[in-house]
Amino acid sequence: MPDHFPLILNSIAKTLPNGRELFADIHLSLSAGEFISIQGESGIGKSTLLNLAAGLDVPSAGEVIVAGQSLDGLSETALTALRGQKIGFVFQAFHVLPFLNLIQNVSLPAILTGDTRDLALEKAADLLDKVGLGDRTHSLVSELSGGELQRVAIARALVHAPTLILADEPTGNLDPSTSAEVMDLLTRTVKSTGAAMILVTHSAIDAASADRRLVMTATGMRDLHD
């Protein structure tokens, strides 16, 4: 399998336990360093698509390939290990652990993928510097604004040098001005690492910064410019 594609979705479908078909026959190939955005109505299946890409959910049909590795038939342990090594996440609700300081929060994925504590902290400090929080590495989460929390989350998503970033509504909890700052930071930082990124968003402005803009509808996924 070509491992220069961080993500390939091969004719995947998802049917919910109640029998409702969420989507079917979705194809998507993401090149290294490519940034795509996905828009669509609420409940259409955007987040489910991200979960399938991350191995957090299993497709009803089709195949998901992450960094050349098919997720089909992988054990829970192997999926977790692959996710930890190859994928970075940015969430709408930040999900920064409140009882750890910033550098500890950011270093978590690096430690989980096997870095020593010192190396992980070094990488985390470097990334916090890149996202503009280099002077607050030991601050507590409760001292940060929403925009700053999302900067921490961006640094955490990149600390273990993943090949794929999955960002689910990263500006959904932020005001327009802060959203613009965060999106700019996210795009620049991810680009600088060479990772590919899928951005799920309702914001046309955020989506506009992507290399490709996709829209999910009840009939499938299409390129916005088609």
Binding site: T80, L97, P98
Partner: protein, 852 residues
């Protein structure tokens, strides 16, 4: 796959998470640590105190036995024929023999009780030199020599330091010693430097002991030194072949074993009771960890998404449990040592059981005991963290990171089969016999009932709450409360686990103690049917036939029955049983018989107590041989009677039979029926004076009510430590209920914020929580009462009979149970309201850092 190394070496993440949790939610962890610490402290202190008492007793026995290789002791307190001394001395396996008379005695006016030993100083010098006195020189205080007792006159006594202290005697004093119903004056010649501190001993010449205290021709003990060519086993074999029925081969280790076997069940029960608090603590750790895991679902989901393995997440909670257990155990061991030190210093080592009165030694902490209790604490905390860890690891991270989910599927019936299976297993375990005298399977049955009850509680909750959910018109707060409990079964189960454990165990102990006390009370009422009871009091009195006739003829007395109690040994490895000699067939005071022979057979009948029947496995009509006389005396069991006073067993023999067998007609106790029972106070005074005139010593008079009060007082004293432990378990249980509710409410701050946004007032939220608290309290109480009753039946009908060899009837203290139930429900409701007031007032920012 997670390697073993990953499991045993926590990564920095675990340390960060744990320390972060500790910083953010200190009270949750402090409470869990304290729960473990209190349980360990109680268990460890009881263990240390018991070990100290046992060691002190053992040291004292070994001290008195000197360097003897074996001992022959009388099978009864009547002793054995002194001719045995010469026969043993002549054995080729024996190098030397020291004969001993051994009696309990009273010193002077002080009434101090001592062990009175009569020895042959020449023989004792080589075998038991610790018994030799050191003569005080009247004109030179520093001149003292060992071995002076060799020149002992028959009117000289030596006292140990403890005997000096208790009798207030000084060297040179003339001291009255009373023993075996006789009195004689001895001059105090000096001390006994070889006797350990705390042992009250007086030593006189053996001939003086035999002559002055009516022991002519008999001995109580032979201390034996083995010859060089003999082995211990050849000596034992030779001795066993030649010993008569009224003598037993004994030894220091046998004596220690006898005493420790008598107290072992009591000690183990106390330690188990202390561990009840620990078990309750374990379930509270479970509740705390369950609710903590629920509160942290999104954090765990994040870690899982970031690459944390399922097993590692479970290990996180186990590491937390380990940390809690380690901290709690270390704190508990320190507290336990401090408790033991305080109790030994202030109260002594008896702990109310009466087994080790006067025996107090230093606290000896062994590494094995430290490790066992440390292990108990850690295991309990890890056990409490295991299920929450599994549940946390099983969550779907993609779902959990968006919203907290309940691990049980909504609408699915809780699985009841394993719970029922546990109860069936408990029933089977309860039927199994004791292991080496300990009710091991009984304790396992208690654990199985508890586990089964906790398993079945969600099922019971659903059964009780579902009908309530169909009720209408109870208000929105009530409806929400019922639906929350029904739709969040995991939260309800976590809260209920701690409540059911603490309530169940506390109810069980309350019923057990009440049953025991009521049975003792009823027994006392049945056995104390005379108006007055007379004993020798402080003086070892006996009434001879003439005196008995004179006393029986006193005008105030309608009927007088004379009795006597001696110790006899049926098995050298068991403590001696009491042989009580009294009228039985002709008596107007019935024994509280629980079984009786249908027909009289030929021979001498005896009536044995229930503990004796169980210890020696004796049945009605069974023939046994009592060690009375050189050839023993064959008797048969004519009846079995209940006895709560003598755990080591007791036998009753007809007075006439005993007199015929031994030729001894003197008796030491009298049960008196008065001509006019209404006149008991004045008659008692008159009889006291008249009996003193007849017997020459001051008798001790008691009435039935007085003895009953004293006996129940003794019972309460012996159960004082039990009440104390019970109170601690109840306290932990109640605090646990409160903490569980507070923790549960703490996990729902966002829900309350939402409810306030849609128009719920603070009052409605508090009302809803009060309903929830009350409903959970009712379910927990129902499960706790049911499981508590089941456990109490195991305690009453399995553990107590197997531990103490006596049976009892269940007596339920309804008013006390009502009080506990009301307290629990009020605690549940009030804690829910209190926690709700905090939660309902919380703003969004506080909600992030909410602690309980």
């Amino acid at each position: 796959m997670t390697s073993v190394r990953q499991m045993v070496q926590p990564s920095p993440i675990w340390r960060w998470l744990l320390l972060g949790q500790l910083r953010t939610f200190p009270f949750r962890y402090i409470f869990a640590v304290l729960s473990i610490a209190i349980g360990i402290a109680l268990g460890f202190s009881v263990h240390l105190i018991n070990a100290s008492a046992s060691d002190a007793f053992g040291d004292a026995v070994r001290n008195m036995s000197g360097s003897s290789d074996a001992q022959v002791a009388g099978a009864t307190s009547l002793g054995f024929d002194e001719q045995l001394y010469g026969q043993v001395y002549n054995l080729s396996e024996v190098a030397d023999v020291s004969p001993v008379i051994e009696m309990s005695a009273v010193l002077g006016e002080s009434g101090a009780r001592v062990k009175l030993l009569g020895i042959d100083p020449f023989r004792a010098a080589t075998i038991t030199p610790v018994l030799l006195g050191r003569q005080e020189s009247s004109n030179d205080q520093s001149a003292s020599r060992r071995g002076d007792q060799a020149a002992l006159a028959t009117n000289i006594a030596y006292l140990s330091d403890a005997a000096f202290a208790s009798s207030n005697a000084k060297p040179g004093d003339l001291l009255t010693i009373r023993a075996n119903g006789q009195t004689h004056d001895f001059q105090v010649a000096g001390d006994l430097p070889g006797i350990e501190a705390g042992q009250s001993v007086a030593v006189i010449d053996i001939a003086a002991a035999q002559w002055h205290f009516d022991r002519l021709g008999v001995l109580d003990r032979l201390d034996i030194k083995r010859s060089e060519k003999a082995t211990q086993s050849s000596l034992t074999r030779a001795m066993q072949e030649m010993l008569p029925r009224d003598a037993r081969l004994s030894g220091a280790e046998n004596e220690i074993q006898k005493r420790t076997s008598l107290s072992r069940a009591y000690r183990v029960n106390l330690e188990m009771l202390a561990l009840v608090a620990l078990v309750t603590g374990g379930f509270l750790v479970y509740s705390a960890q369950s609710l903590s895991a629920q509160k942290r679902q999104q954090q765990f989901a994040l870690l899982r998404i970031l690459g944390l393995q399922k097993s590692s997440l479970q290990h996180q909670l186990l590491w937390e449990g380990l940390a809690l257990g380690l901290a709690g155990s270390i704190l508990g061991l320190i507290l336990g040592y401090a408790f033991a030190y305080l109790i030994l210093t202030i109260i002594g080592s008896d702990l109310g059981g009466g087994y080790f009165s006067g025996s107090t030694g230093p606290i000896d902490v062994t590494i094995s005991a430290l490790l066992v209790f440390l292990g108990f604490g850690i295991f309990t905390a890890i056990f409490g963290s295991f299920a929450p860890g599994r549940r946390a690891a099983a969550l779907n991270p993609a779902q959990a990171i968006k919203t907290a989910v309940d691990h049980q599927e909504k609408g699915k019936q809780p699985i009841w089969l394993p719970g029922v299976a546990l109860l069936v297993v408990a029933g089977g375990l309860a039927l199994l016999p004791a292991v080496d005298g300990l009710p091991i399977f009984g304790y396992l049955a208690v654990a199985a009932v508890l586990a089964g009850a906790i398993w079945l509680t969600p099922w019971l909750a659903r059964g009780l709450l579902t009908p309530l959910s169909r009720l209408s018109g109870r208000g929105i707060a009530f409806d929400l409360a019922v639906h929350h409990l029904l739709r969040s079964p995991s939260q309800a189960a976590a809260a209920l686990g701690g409540i059911v454990a603490s309530v169940g165990l506390m109810i069980a102990m309350v019923i057990m103690v009440s049953s025991f006390r009521t049975s003792v009370d009823n027994w006392l009422e049945s056995i104390l049917s005379a108006d007055l009871y007379v004993s020798g009091g402080l003086v070892e009195t006996s009434f001879d036939s003439k005196q008995q006739a004179e006393i029986a003829g006193l005008p105030d007395i309608a009927d007088a029955e004379f009795s006597k109690t001696i110790n006899i040994s049926l098995d050298p490895k068991q403590p001696p049983v009491n042989l009580t000699v009294r009228p039985v067939e002709s008596s107007q005071y019935d024994l509280p018989l629980i079984a009786v022979a249908e027909q009289r057979t030929a021979g001498i009948p005896v009536w044995i107590s229930e503990p004796a029947a169980r210890i020696y496995d004796l049945q009605i009509d069974q023939n046994i041989s009592l060690p009375i006389g050189a050839r023993g005396t064959p008797v048969y069991v004519a009846g079995i009677w209940s006895d709560y006073a003598r755990q080591q067993g007791a036998i009753v023999m007809e007075s006439e039979d005993y007199t015929v067998l031994t030729g001894i007609s003197a008796r030491s106790e009298i049960a008196i029926s008065l001509q006019d029972p209404q006149d008991i106070s004045a008659a008692s005074e008159r009889l006291k004076a008249q009996i003193r005139d007849i017997a020459g010593t001051e008798p001790q008079m008691s009435n039935a009510a007085g003895i009953r009060d004293i006996a129940l007082g003794l019972f309460d004293r012996s159960f004082a430590i039990t009440y104390g432990l019970e109170a601690v378990a109840i306290f932990i249980g109640m605090v646990g209920v409160g903490a569980t509710f507070a923790a549960q409410v703490g996990t729902r701050v966002k829900e309350f914020g939402m409810l306030r946004h849609i128009g719920f007032g603070r009052r409605e939220i508090i009302k809803m929580l009060a309903y929830e608290g009350l409903l959970l309290g009712i379910v927990g109480l129902a499960a706790g009462l049911l499981s508590g009753f089941a456990i109490s039946q195991i305690l009453v009908h399995v553990i107590n009979p197997q531990s103490f060899n006596l049976t009892m009837k269940t007596a339920i203290p309804y008013m006390l149970l009502l009080g506990i139930s009301a307290t629990l429900l009020i605690t549940s409701g009030l804690t829910a309201i209190f926690a709700g007031r905090r939660a309902a007032a919380a703003d969004a920012l506080r909600a992030v850092n909410e602690d309980w």
